[in-house]
Symmetry: C2
Subunit: 339 residues, 2 copies
């Protein structure tokens, strides 16, 4: 790696004083140095020839520049969602001349703490928290928020205050799904998803209720299946029970699944039991993971988050602290499995 | 955001001179200041109480510390591959107390240049180039390599020299696929992929030849289909022609596709034409994109890159410039579509 040319060396080559070089090359220079047009041209030419770049660390120390670095906290081990959001977010930050540093969290508080400390060291210009479901997260974020620069959460965790947030309306897409299924003549529309610990799941249920209401259909407890796989209750057992309770005994002619992976498993189990999709039962996923939705036969109807819109709002929220953005609406994407 | 406490303020609170604080808190302090145990304890206690962190920018300027930042160049718009590699790579860098900055390239040289300039500004400790298929890439990388810190390429682009590289043996997985298909009694094994501009495709063809040779089968030109979709020749037309030429006229009983997306399209087209997979034709993809391979019926046999191994080698190569690692072998992952 070549050594970078300094302003002192440029001064020597241009045969001028270092103050003169500083006046030309530092955009926020506060000195009163007067520079002739000829010297200015010579300094700029030498700087260009030697690929001079202002020393960013020195400018940050002087307070002349932010770092333009934005830290982003994710946990890619648990969901494709982070993958799908990360790169649109990078595009949005780049538009604003900002660059992304990734901090990957598990659910371990000590690991998270070291990432946050590290973020403080880098003099970041902002932090975007996409993942915060970590043990002791409430204490941790309340402790670190005052030490961090402008911070934006994707959904503020319960008990944490003082940060900007962008949120997703998970309900709207489910409401649209119920409307679509009812319009297609489906009479017994079921909901199948994991537990209600998370707001995102509570909102799906709310969207389901709203959709039924708008379609003038009754809410029927026997068409709701909410369970979590456990060490002693496998995912395969859960899916088998879901098909049993909803499609066989409950006579559901449509199922909305909590996510695309569940929808895929339901599709397979229904095929195995001779319940063709969409002939006998219509099926809707959630997440619109294209690699899944376009690989199944029939292709899977699903619900989309609008990653580009979400990314744009997160990036904008960093620059407009205190602004309340309306939530990003989820929407139905119709494919073969529901028609 | 709270203002960070400085060494000067700690000195005031501890009632000692600033040199004393510096001697205690700067690990590489070069002074001769002697500090009493009592003062040292008091300084450390005050620093901890006020969440003191050494100023990383100042340490980088003094040459006491690297930035511990590694720039990673990707282009996620063109392939799931980058997604799948990015997060294992982050894990490997983190093990080495390094953090990742993402630079996303299109194929536009001016955009790439601004990312590289920006990487220079951040005083990175290293650069990992995962994507380099950009227009004018040869000129660009030859110009910037001397200005960048230690740089590692995933496959060095033709005409670029002076950088470390980690490579993938794309041939091995294809060779294994041919052996597996031949052992399963398939007699006419075809290869279907896009053009030979890229080394990765040339190596697939080489692996195919090697596999046939090892299985004692002849190489038959009529079982090779190498084309590229163009504006006037759609992907659907290409796939239809491939099934026509290979499976119908060529009587292939097995097809190895250049990637999983192609395998998915071939599967659909063969289903449409009443050529059941694997009953009539066995099918193998490349890339092992789990969301695709596990969503199809039958599940798709594919070829795996070993992302964790690749990530570990890329991270290690940064620390051992000049080391030649053996290439990361690709391997076959057998599922239902080939048995």
């Amino acid at each position: 790696m070549q050594k970078r040319i300094s302003q002192r060396e440029i001064a020597r080559l241009a045969n001028v004083r270092q103050e003169t070089v500083s006046a030309v090359l530092n955009p926020n220079s506060r000195g009163n140095t007067r520079v002739s047009a000829e010297s200015r041209e010579r300094i700029l030419r030498i700087a260009a020839e030697h690929n001079y770049r202002p020393n960013l660390q020195a400018r940050i120390l002087r307070g002349d520049s932010g770092s333009n670095l934005i830290g982003v906290l994710i946990n890619a081990r648990i969901s494709q969602f982070f993958y799908d959001l990360l790169l649109p977010l990078e595009v949005e930050l780049r538009k604003r001349h900002r660059r992304m540093i990734i901090g990957q969290l598990g659910n371990d508080a000590a690991e998270a703490e070291s990432v946050l400390q590290n973020f403080i060291d880098y003099n970041l210009d902002g932090v975007i928290v996409l993942h915060h479901d970590i043990s002791d997260g409430r204490r941790l974020f309340n402790h670190y928020l005052p030490l961090l620069p402008e911070t934006v959460f994707l959904e503020v965790p319960p008990g944490v205050s003082g940060a900007a947030a962008v949120s997703i309306d998970f309900a709207n897409g489910v409401r649209e799904a119920v409307a679509h299924l009812a319009a297609g003549g489906r009479r017994r529309i079921a909901l199948c998803m994991n537990d209600l610990r998370f707001l995102s799941m509570q909102m799906r249920l709310e969207g389901y209720r709203r959709g039924l209401e708008e379609a003038g259909r009754p809410f029927d407890e026997s068409l709701i299946f909410i369970r979590e796989p456990r060490p002693d209750y496998t995912f395969a057992e859960l899916i088998s029970d879901a098909v049993d309770l909803l499609a066989v005994r409950g006579k559901a002619d449509a199922v909305i699944a909590g996510n695309d992976e569940w929808a895929l498993a339901l599709l397979r189990e229904m095929n195995r039991r001779g319940l063709p999709v969409p002939g006998k039962v219509a099926l809707v996923g959630y997440g619109n993971i294209l690699n899944i939705c376009r690989s199944t036969t029939p292709e899977l109807t699903s619900i989309h988050h609008g990653m580009e819109e979400l990314a744009a709002k997160l990036a904008a929220a960093l620059e407009k602290p205190g602004t309340r953005f309306p939530p990003v609406l989820s929407h139905l994407v119709v494919r073969q499995s529901s028609i």
